[in-house]
């Protein structure tokens, strides 16, 4: 074949050549029709999928995506090779066919733009130049022209050979007229308007001038349509301002501030009134035509600046309803009323008022004086507390009765300026007795100081009383001897005061002290000079006395007799607050007297119960498997309140006073109830049943009877805590027997004898009652009449001696008792110790000891009496055994302390002796044995 032979010949062939036939080749099977499919170069079937589904090869073998499906090819998950930022190009989304010759983006070698013949296309350039006019930067084609390669395309060359010249249109030569019409009709501009300026007009003019009949002209070169893409976001038909035209050639060098609303330049440029020049060629609508605007026909309408307000807020159109972009018709009506402009559109049915309302006459504020300072000056505070050392209570009273202090300067203002006395006069009431002012209650010099203080502020002068002057002088003369001075003052204050009023009881908690204080006050009233020394207790120590002296003097000055007006005005707190307590529980316990009364009526319940808030420890709650009842509270126990201490003395006696402060002195109250309750109950039942009566009697019982000397007119309201005074008085009063003194005296012996078989009583007495055992025991006598007689004298003495011992024990927490009694045998030690315990005691073990020492016969229970005889032998035997064991024990521990050994030996002695004779024994430690014996006897009598 030719093809075979001319292999090297350069034939341009299209399509695939047939394979050369070979003779000896067996006939191949023709490809069946269904297999004759079109495949691409990669062997993929080519199917037409339709234009919108990807054309010929869609996806991967007519599936989607790639071999991996939709897996994005950009995914790189290597540690070393991180995914780079991939910028997607259009090629990434093209198929391979698209790059082929007939694809949409053929990758064939083509003439690049600059070498293409399209250069120097005048018309295109012109069109581009025209477009450039509309562009944002006018004349940007200049640069392009400069660097354009000077190379003509073949078409241009051909045209030139045919006689065409640049600047002419292509086509047969034509006469002027038709050409002109042609151009008129033919030239249609799309997109951007040609600028109104240019050489066209002048050319036209020229053409019109020189238009001979027989001359043909080359057709006018027509500007091709510029297909340059529209940049920017402006709407269709938008023209930017051509500054050259807009400014009309003038002021081009000036910078135009477009964005300053009311700049003069702007108004001078655009203002319709000022500038008489032709309106600038600002053309084009600002933002084109929006989708929502109707005026589609106006797309190419030229807007003029005159339609816009050039001044912001300058002239309000008509009524203020429509804002400054209001339609024109409203601006027509603006002349009707100028005032409506302020009001707005007048509603129907309303008219403007003819007469404007009279304006409020506003008076100018007064002219401030030049020295005015806008700061309020409070009137100087009278610091009574600090200056004169007056008690806070008195200071409080002073403050609250400021009206009295202001009385001196007469202020006849409104009724609020009147003080109580003035009001009283107005009301026509009787004046109250006593000093009318708190000032009278003050010490003279204090008063004077207050007055002078006030006078200094008000620039008033006040002549002090001559008496005050002397006082002041004396105080000036003797400043160091304040104690004497105070005594003197106290004397002056209390002298001659005969009031049956309730006076304040500063030592209410300590009745004996209060009694002494009242004695002192009585003496003061009588004008006794050395009242203080006489009223003090001589049995006290010097230090105590001096302290009490100072306290009394101070108290007498602080709580000098109050006037009736004052005392009627203030009511006394029922329970004096404990200022001296360092820390008190927040919830005060109620009145014990009421409770006592309730208990006597057996009305347990509300009256006797009190509930406090109590904070258990968090851990305790946890241990008890209980949620914290007060979560988040840092308090543990009963919430405490800290209170200030009042004076140093209070601080010194803080423990004592605290004990006093607590209303029920436990042992005492116990004692009271233990011994007296039954008796009192009887009396009570006899006397009355009503609650009020009972309460009052209960109160009375707990009242103190003050000293003989203290004025009987003083109604004593303090409840007794004095162990010395109470019981006797109580019994007296409850019985109503005034002449029981003698009786109690004769009872005393009995009582003393009772003492011994009532060990806890000794204890309380030992602790709390030092002076008057007899009195307290007098009540006991009434409660218990029949008891065994004993020689109680020495017992009493012993108790007294123990009292001292006990006190030391209480303070040192009974640590030294054991050391005290190391020599004493254990048994006796216990019996002795019995007597020293607080509160309820343990029964004496003496029985037990004597029993297992001497046999159980004597203490056998009645139910087993029939076995006694049999047992006694046994027990004797056992006792011996026991003794032996003891001995063994002793042998086992031979290296005990010496004194212990002594103890043991003594014990043995007692054992031996008791074994020898069951009843009595050789006195080893006589007093011990005596005691033991007494114990036994007393128990046997029970």
């Amino acid at each position: 074949m030719a093809s075979d032979s001319d292999n090297d010949e350069d034939f341009v062939t299209y399509g695939t050549p047939l394979e050369p036939l070979e003779e000896d080749e067996p006939l191949r099977k023709p490809i069946p029709l269904h297999e004759q499919t079109v495949k691409d170069e990669k062997g993929r079937y080519q199917r037409f999928h339709g234009a919108f589904t990807g054309g010929f090869s869609a996806g991967y073998f007519n599936t989607v995506g790639s071999k991996e499906g939709w897996t994005p090819s950009t995914f790189v998950s290597s540690r070393q090779q991180k995914a780079e930022k991939h910028r997607a190009r259009p090629e990434d989304f093209m198929d391979d066919e698209d790059f082929s010759e007939h694809g949409i983006a053929p990758r064939e070698i083509t003439t690049s733009q600059e070498f293409s013949s399209s250069r120097r296309d005048e018309a295109a350039e012109k069109a581009r130049a025209v477009g450039a006019q509309a562009a944002l930067i006018p004349g940007d084609t200049l640069l392009e022209e400069l660097i354009a390669p000077a190379r003509l395309s073949i078409g241009v060359e051909l045209l030139r050979r045919m006689g065409w010249k640049e600047g002419q249109g292509v086509g047969p030569r034509v006469k002027r007229k038709p050409r002109r019409q042609q151009t008129e009709s033919g030239v249609k501009t799309y997109g951007c308007l040609l600028p109104p300026a240019g050489s066209e007009d002048s050319e036209d003019n020229y053409d019109e001038e020189f238009a001979p009949e027989n001359v043909t002209f080359a057709p006018k070169d027509m500007t091709p349509v510029d297909f340059s893409p529209k940049p920017g976001v402006q709407g269709l038909g938008y023209h930017g301002l051509d500054p050259g035209l807009a400014l009309l050639g003038r002021g081009a060098d000036k910078h135009i501030d477009l964005f300053r609303p009311q700049s003069e330049m702007r108004t001078s440029l655009f203002g319709d009134t000022k500038i008489s020049l032709k309106r600038g060629g600002v053309a084009g609508q600002a933002f084109g035509v929006g989708a929502l605007e109707d005026e589609d026909e106006d797309v190419y309408h030229r807007d003029s600046m005159s339609k816009y307000d050039t001044v912001l807020g300058g002239e309000e159109p008509g009524d203020g309803l429509y804002g400054w972009t209001a339609p024109q018709q409203y601006t027509k009506k603006r002349e009707r009323s100028k005032d409506t402009a302020y009001i707005g559109k007048i509603l129907e049915g309303f008219t403007l008022a003819q007469k404007p309302p009279e304006g409020k006459t506003v008076f100018p504020p007064p002219i401030l004086p030049s020295n005015y300072r806008p700061v309020h000056c409070f009137r100087p505070q009278v610091d009574v507390l600090r200056r004169s050392g007056v008690s806070p209570a008195l200071a409080e009273a002073l403050k609250s009765s400021r009206g009295h202090m202001m009385k001196e300067e007469p202020q006849q203002g409104g009724r609020h300026q009147l003080d109580s006395s003035q009001r009283r006069e107005l009301l026509g009431e009787d004046s109250l007795k006593g000093p009318s002012s708190v000032m009278d209650l003050l010490r003279p010099e204090d008063r004077r100081r207050l007055l002078s203080m006030r006078n200094s502020s008000t620039q008033e002068t006040c002549t002090p009383d001559p008496e005050d002057a002397t006082h002041a002088a004396s105080s000036v003369v003797t400043p160091p001897s304040t104690g004497l001075q105070q005594q003197h003052d106290a004397l002056a204050a209390w002298k001659g005061v005969h009031t049956s009023l309730q006076t304040f009881k500063p030592f209410e908690k300590n009745p004996s002290k209060q009694a002494r204080y009242e004695l002192y006050l009585n003496r003061l009233r009588q004008g006794d000079k050395d009242s203080l020394e006489q009223s003090l207790d001589l049995t006290m120590t010097e230090w105590e006395r001096s302290r009490e002296r100072e306290e009394f003097v101070r108290a007498s000055i602080l709580y000098r007799p109050t006037s009736s007006s004052l005392s009627s005005r203030f009511t006394r707190a029922k329970q004096q607050e404990d200022e001296d307590m360092v820390e008190v529980s927040r919830d005060e316990e109620g009145d014990v007297d009421d409770k006592q009364a309730a208990i006597k009526m057996k009305m347990f319940g509300k009256l006797t119960r009190e509930t406090f808030e109590w904070h258990p420890d968090k851990l305790l709650c946890k241990r008890f498997n209980v949620p914290d009842p007060h979560p988040g509270s840092g308090v543990v126990g009963v919430p405490k309140v800290k209170r200030d201490k009042f004076s140093v003395f209070n601080f010194l006696t803080v423990t004592e006073s605290r004990e006093m402060a607590e209303p029920p002195k436990p042992p005492e109250s116990g004692k009271k109830s233990r011994w007296d309750v039954s008796d009192q109950k009887k009396d009570k039942k006899k006397s009355d049943d009503s609650l009020s009566e009972l309460l009052s009697t209960a109160r009375n019982q707990t009242e103190i009877k003050p000293d003989r000397d203290s004025a009987p007119e003083l109604p004593v309201s303090s409840h007794s805590n004095d162990p010395a005074v109470t019981p006797a008085n109580k019994s007296e009063e409850s019985a109503g027997v005034q002449s029981s003194d003698r009786k109690t005296d004769c009872d005393e012996e009995q009582k003393d004898e009772e003492e011994e078989n009532r060990p806890p009583m000794d204890l309380f007495k030992a602790i709390f009652a030092s002076s008057s055992d007899e009195k307290s025991s007098s009540s006991e006598a009434e409660s218990d009449s029949e008891d065994e007689e004993k020689d109680g004298k020495e017992e009493e003495g012993k108790i007294e001696s123990q009292a001292v011992d006990l006190l030391t024990i209480t303070t040192s927490s009974s640590g030294d008792t054991s050391s005290l009694r190391t020599e004493v045998a254990v048994s006796s030690q216990m019996s002795v110790k019995e007597r020293e315990e607080f509160g309820p005691k343990l029964p004496p073990p003496s029985f037990a000891i004597s029993e297992y020492r001497g046999g159980t016969t004597s203490v056998c229970s009645p139910s087993k009496e029939e076995e006694v005889g049999k047992k006694s032998k046994e027990k004797k035997h056992k006792n011996r055994k026991h003794y032996k064991r003891k001995k063994d024990k002793k042998k086992k521990k031979p290296k005990k302390h010496k004194h212990k050994q002594q103890k043991k030996s003594k014990k043995e002695e007692t054992h031996n002796s008791s074994e020898d004779s069951d009843e009595d024994d050789v006195p080893v430690l006589t007093d011990n044995l005596l005691k033991r014996l007494k114990n036994i006897q007393s128990h046997e009598t029970w």
Binding site: F612, P845, A848
Partner: protein
């Protein structure tokens, strides 16, 4: 019989002496049943605490370690631990089996009158003559108490624990009930020094005996008195009182050598048990059965409803 009994059977009272145990430890200050009532703890004035079997009256163990007379003791719910308090101001936690001191808790300023485990034996509560109740943690190794209840103004004479409540009786004449769940402290004023307080078995009532020779039953929630039981003598000594296991009777020691047993509802004296000539110091009622322990002087006596056949002497 088809007829119902005309009278419900009267509750049994422990009126027969089953045995007497001579403890040989001086005066027995307190006698206590353990949690299940099979064992007895006796606190002796010779510093020893002794463990006994109730049924046989046999001596089991002595726990010695106190420096002074033992005043009270309690056993834990699982019988593994004991606690005791003493005049030597200490509280001791014992291991029952070995008899060793697990912990010796010091802190009270005076002799410790009463001691009590809580329900799970995680806390020991001890009341002392110094007026404080100390809550000791048995779990931690710290020797400081968890909390100190110092509201009492005088010696604490008795303390009881029931679930989440502590009941303390004090010589200042007040019964205080600390409610841990509510975070409240209820103070009932009784005016006479309290010697012993008890919860009833149902936990709704409290019993308190005071030195005015009366035992009073109070409603726990309101503090109202439900009953007053008198007739015995309790004027000077710290003696115990208790309720029977079925809350049918109130029992109290007396200084006249008897145990008084009142009917709880009627308040009438139903039994006056003669124990001896001395003071009946302590008593303890069996937690479930009708069995009573009394302590007088050096002996502990066990009382039951039925007289036991073979009266073997316990003093072997």
């Amino acid at each position: 019989m088809a007829f119902p009994q005309p009278k419900p059977q009267a509750p049994q009272l422990p009126q027969h002496l089953l045995r007497t145990i001579d403890c040989k430890q001086g005066a027995v200050r307190a006698v206590r049943f353990n949690a299940d009532g099979n064992y007895v703890l006796s606190c002796g004035s010779d510093k020893s605490l002794k463990l006994w079997s109730v049924n046989r009256g046999t001596f089991l163990k002595t726990y010695s370690g106190h420096g002074y007379e033992v005043l009270d003791a309690d056993g834990s719910y699982d019988n593994s631990q004991l606690c005791s308090c003493s005049s030597d101001k200490t509280v001791i936690l014992w291991d029952v089996a070995t008899g060793q001191v697990t912990r010796k808790l010091r802190g009270h300023a005076g002799k410790v009158n009463c001691v009590q485990f809580n329900e799970e034996a995680t806390v020991i509560l001890s009341g002392s003559i110094d007026g404080r109740v100390r809550c000791w943690d048995t779990r931690s190794r710290k020797f400081e108490p968890i909390q100190i209840l110092d509201e009492a103004r005088d010696s604490i004479s008795s303390i009881k624990v029931a679930q989440h409540e502590l009941l303390t009786g004090s010589v200042d004449g007040r019964v205080r009930r600390y409610d841990l769940r509510m975070g409240q402290l209820h103070v009932d004023f009784i005016s006479s020094p309290i010697t012993c307080v008890c919860f009833s078995q149902d936990g709704q009532c409290t019993l308190s005996s005071s030195l005015d020779s009366s035992v009073r039953l109070f409603d726990k929630s309101t503090g109202e008195m439900l009953g007053e039981y008198t007739g015995h003598k309790m004027k000077g000594y710290k003696l115990d009182c208790c309720l029977s296991s079925k809350d049918t009777h109130v029992l109290s020691c007396s200084e006249d050598g008897h145990v008084y047993c009142w009917d709880l509802v009627e308040g009438s004296l139903s039994l006056k048990l003669p124990v001896g000539k001395g003071v009946v110091q302590s008593l303890s009622f069996h937690p479930t059965e009708t069995c009573l322990l009394t302590a007088m002087e050096g002996r502990v006596q066990v009382w039951g409803t039925e007289p036991e056949e073979e009266k073997d002497d316990a003093m072997t």
